[in-house]
């Protein structure tokens, strides 16, 4: 038994009121909690991730600018270091290589990076998880990334073969490490990390110098900038220095792939925090308003009496504000707990997806204070109108019963159709119209629930559409082979003779910067023959189009970023080969959801570069039955630097997204159900309380319980039906907002919502509505017929 000893009389009333209306109060608290939880979840995970990244970058010297070249003399390193704005410059060697692991048929692509021999690296320092870094000059020692070692069950002391500069060498693992450069480690051309098929290897600089004939030279450099340095200026100067040595254009963190992916993820979390919590706060404010209005209507006489006894308006306002306060505080507390819990799970999920040596969970008080303040403000805003009606009641009026509710004829009631409606249906319809605000808010609450569900479910549709266009429409090759350097075009004939190869289509890749006025982007310019079947270009309606003879095709995202359209002229800076700026015309805009795409005819590109017919790699289709023989041959082909397999790329893509989307979707579906249930439960309970007398009268007149329930549920059903199309519109709009925030230069998500998704959202909401209505239906059975009829209205 609750002890109310020592409480003031009004506070005792408060406690008993809360005990009486606890299911409704709890339903409201849960909706409030959902808002608080999503806010804390999204912002908490955002901050944790950002702080983890910041600390990791700071402690392990993540560079600000990156550049590569073909072969730059070692002396250039100090000249780069002396450039204004540069604090540290560290040269190294980075190369791709094919690895051959025992028991693994398919070739693995490895990214080799050199470690300085004199001391530990100044920039991009690996975090040693196990073992140690390779010793200077130790030609067979290698450190590998932890995820790769885990994926293959490799341990310290294990070995594997690598084809380095055309020669097979046995390497022994001496350490398993993580690197701030490879928080998100993906192979060339991949969309998602695949640690079975992509490895990062660290070896001693002198070893790699001798292996790749780079004695006294380097092919990559990382820079730390001085505080306040202008990145663009440094990049321009570095490009100038490296241009003679095959520089491919320096770039900042924004174009560093691991950083960019992490950034895109952070952006999505921030968007989540902006889009979802306001929906919950809106619904909670409305629920509080509705419930409190009813409570005050029921307590009309008590309020009159309390005033007559000499209590001031302030005391009455405080009384009801306390009620709202208690509900809100409970909601906030539940929201804190859930938000913290979900936030940690999400951060951990990110910890699995991104390779961090540690995770920092950010639980700054300010986030909780902001969440609590926002929620309290929404709750009080919802309650104020209701409380003001209590304050406006003069005691004498309050103590006499309220005037009977006035109803009116419905528009169109005289029609022939209306004549066929039963009186029960007419009751429901008139009641809906009599309380338009409440009907609208109940409908809107349900609509928001439908909308939330659409937003949480449509991601699957969008991703499937993206997969469909990318893997089945555009990139239909079985594998892509990237060559070590540009190769003469006759290499395609060699590749076509490899076992099982059915079709070979060459391509040319060249680093470029595309510019329209002040806006520019660094990207890979692709050259393709005009008769490709494996890879195709899709127009905006996703129909295949040919590569035009002149001009370039760019994808929609790039066109939007540059602010150009079909026919516009853009500047193209080629960053390797023969450097220089050309003006080219955009011959068409194509659809591609992955990255920034610019492509032209291969012969035209080679002409532009003033080079003969050379290729950077080939897309192939092959006979799966002869895969093992093909892979053996690829491993034995020194000119092949890396391989991407489309099949694995697709399955990794699906698996990774499924894991991420599944968790968020489960959380959202749970929350949307809370909203639907909370809205319907409160709305129906209030109706039941208001109309208990009508319903009891119907029971007395000989209507069965089911018939009486119908009066309540006809209205609810109508509102639920009206709410669906509105919910679809809201869902569509929220999904569009989400898509906007999810788009980055790395990938864009097509805005696709399948009909089935609308249907699923509606079904879930209707199920929650029915469940909630059934709990109220039970209460109709408990109506005290006699007592209700004995009381005046």
């Amino acid at each position: 038994m609750l002890s109310l000893h020592g409480l003031r009389a009004l506070d005792r009333k408060l406690v008993r009121d809360l005990v009486r209306i606890w299911p409704q109060a709890l339903a409201i608290a849960l909706v409030l909690a959902s808002g608080v939880a999503t806010l804390i979840l999204a912002i908490g995970a955002y901050r944790s991730l950002e702080e983890t990244r910041r600390l990791y970058y700071a402690e392990y010297g993540f560079a600000d600018v990156f550049a590569s070249a073909t072969r730059a003399p070692a002396a250039l390193e100090s000249r780069i270091a002396e450039l204004p704005g540069v604090a540290i410059a560290e040269a190294r060697i980075t190369r791709h290589a094919i690895l051959d692991l025992e028991g693994v048929t398919e070739p693995v692509t490895g990214l080799l990076q050199s470690l300085p021999d004199r001391a530990r690296p100044l920039l991009n320092r690996p975090h040693i998880r196990l073992g140690r870094l390779p010793e200077a000059g130790a030609i067979s020692e290698v450190a590998v990334n932890v995820a790769f070692a885990d994926a293959h069950g490799l341990r310290i002391g294990d070995g594997f073969d690598a084809i380095l500069n055309g020669k097979k060498r046995r390497l022994t693992i001496v350490g398993a490490v993580l690197s701030p450069e490879h928080i998100y480690a993906i192979g060339p051309g991949d969309l998602m990390p695949d640690y079975r098929r992509f490895a990062i290897l660290w070896m001693s600089r002198t070893t790699l110098e001798s292996v790749f004939d780079l004695d006294g030279a380097f092919d990559a450099v990382s820079l730390k900038l001085e505080p306040g340095a202008r990145e663009a200026e440094v990049i321009a100067r570095v490009d100038q220095l490296l241009s003679r040595y095959g520089g491919t254009g320096a770039y900042g963190r924004a174009d560093q792939i691991s950083h960019a992916f992490l950034d895109a993820e952070l952006k999505q979390l921030a968007a989540l925090a902006r889009i979802i919590p306001p929906v919950f706060l809106l619904v909670s404010a409305f629920l509080l308003n509705m419930t409190l209005l009813r409570l005050i209507a029921l307590e009309r006489e008590q309020i009159g009496l309390i005033k007559a006894l000499g209590y001031a308006n302030a005391a009455i306002a405080a009384h009801y504000l306390k009620l709202v306060g208690v509900i809100t505080v409970v909601g906030i507390a539940i929201g804190f707990a859930l938000g913290t819990l979900f936030g940690q799970s999400l951060t951990r999920l990110y910890g699995k997806f991104f390779q961090f040596p540690f995770l920092v969970f950010e639980h700054d008080g300010d986030l909780y204070v902001v969440a609590a303040t926002l929620t309290l403000a929404a709750a009080v805003a919802g309650a104020l109108r209701a409380i003001s009606t209590a304050l406006a009641l003069p005691p004498a009026v309050a103590m006499s019963p309220p005037a009977p509710q006035r109803y009116a004829h419905l528009p169109g009631e005289a029609s022939a159709l209306a004549a066929h409606l039963s009186q029960m249906t007419v009751m429901s319809l008139r009641n809906m119209v009599r309380f338009p605000m409440r009907s609208a808010m109940t409908g809107l609450g349900l609509s928001l629930s439908v909308g939330l569900l659409i937003v949480s479910l449509f991601a699957f549709d969008a991703v499937e559409a993206m997969i469909d266009a990318t893997f089945f429409g555009s990139q239909r090759q079985d594998a892509t082979l990237n060559f070590r350097d540009e190769q003469p075009v006759r290499i395609t004939t060699d590749v076509s003779h490899l076992p099982g190869v059915l079709r070979v289509e060459p391509f040319r890749h060249v680093a470029a910067r595309i510019r329209n006025g002040q806006i520019s982007r660094r990207l890979t310019l692709t050259g393709r023959p005009d008769d490709t079947l494996l890879t195709r270009q899709l127009d905006l309606a996703l129909a295949p189009v040919a590569v035009p003879e002149t001009g370039i095709l760019i994808n929609r995202r790039l066109a939007e970023v540059l602010g150009v359209e079909r026919g516009s002229l853009v500047e193209l800076d080629i960053l390797d080969g023969r450097r220089g700026t050309r003006m080219v015309r955009i011959s068409d805009i194509i659809e591609s959801y992955i990255g920034l795409v610019a492509l032209m005819r291969m012969d035209q590109l080679n002409r532009l570069l003033e080079e003969g017919p050379v290729v950077s790699g080939v897309h192939i289709a092959y006979d799966r039955d002869r895969e093992a023989a093909l892979f053996r041959a690829i491993k034995a082909t020194p000119r092949i630097a890396s391989i991407e397999q489309q099949r694995h790329a697709l399955s990794r893509f699906r698996a990774t997204l499924a894991e991420n989307i599944d968790m968020m979707t489960s959380i959202y579906i749970g929350l949307a159900v809370v909203v639907a249930f909370g809205v319907v439960y409160n709305s129906t309970r209030i109706q039941l309380s208001e109309r208990a007398r009508d319903l009891a009268s119907l029971r007395v007149l000989g209507f069965h319980r089911r018939e009486v329930s119908r009066v309540l549920f006809t209205e609810l059903t109508l509102l639920a039906l009206i709410a669906q199309p509105l919910g679809w519109i809201i869902g569509h709009w929220l999904a569009w907002l989400t898509i906007q925030s999810f788009s980055s230069d790395l990938y864009t998500t097509p805005f696709v919502i399948n009909t089935a998704t609308y249907a699923k959202a509606s079904l879930v909401t209707i199920a929650a509505t029915v469940a909630s209505a059934l709990t109220v239906h039970q209460r109709i059975a408990a109506l005290d017929l006699v007592a209700v009829l004995k009381t005046r209205e």
């Binding site: 109803y407 009186q423 007419v426 007395v700 000989g702 069965h704 319980r705």
Partner: protein, 235 residues
């Protein structure tokens, strides 16, 4: 001798609220005959309303026998009682209990829609003299008018019995008389067995019989040799 419509023997109703036990009816015996109008008189708490609720199928007796023709009301479950009310009983209450979102005509139609041989709603309203107000909502009617709509609603299905619980309790005498005129007219013209609860003793003179209640029993039953018209009653 007219047919016995209701027969109660040793009817007992005990309410328990915590440790307190209230005997609302204490072994009551009563017969109501077809077509008669009976007034049940007595102070508050004497058991009148409890009896009416049991006769009307709104409540169940704790003990004793209560039959409506050959239906044993004590044995009916919730569903059976609902069906009983639907087919045989018309109720009129002190506070009218009209549905505020339905007009006078629609309040009556509410009942006629679920009855087997109802009169038309307009006919029922005509019987209580309210044809002209048929399309008004309850909030647009006076108390007396609302009560007459309630009577029209109660009799529109041609019930076998009409049970009225303080039908004039909330009305002034002038309006009350009009309501009583409506009830006596129904009793006379349709032959509906009618029971009226009141603690206004003057009303007893319009009945065929009246019974006085005290402590859960009937302590006096008197047949009126000469009945008065409602207009002749004054209070």
């Amino acid at each position: 001798m007219a047919e016995v419509v209701f027969q109660a023997r040793g009817l007992t109703k005990v309410y328990r609220t915590g440790a307190v036990e209230v005997r609302a009816l204490d072994g009551l015996d009563l017969d109501l005959f077809a077509g008669e109008l009976v007034v049940l008189l007595g102070p508050s708490g004497s058991g009148k309303s409890t009896l009416l609720n049991i006769l009307g199928g709104l409540d169940r007796a704790t003990d004793g026998l209560c039959r409506f023709r050959d239906i044993d009301l004590v044995r009916l479950d919730d569903r059976g009682l609902t069906e009983f009310r639907r087919r045989y009983v018309g109720f009129v209450f002190q506070f009218y209990n009209l549905i505020p979102s339905l007009t006078a005509r629609e309040n009556v139609a509410l009942v006629t829609e679920i009855s087997e041989h109802p009169m038309r709603p307009e006919e029922a309203l005509d019987l209580v003299g309210l044809s002209a107000r048929a399309d008004h909502f309850p909030a647009e009617l006076s108390g007396g008018e609302q009560q007459r709509v309630a009577i029209a609603r109660a009799i529109a299905k041609r019930p076998d019995v009409l049970l009225c619980d303080e039908p004039t309790g909330a009305l002034d005498s002038h309006t009350g008389i009009r309501v009583l005129e409506a009830i006596t007219a129904v009793n006379r013209e349709l032959g509906t067995t009618t029971a009226i609860i009141t603690h206004n003793a003057a009303i007893k003179d319009i009945a065929h019989r009246f019974c006085r209640f005290a402590d859960g029993r009937i302590v006096e039953t008197t047949s009126n040799q000469k009945r008065l018209a409602p207009a002749e009653v004054s209070w």
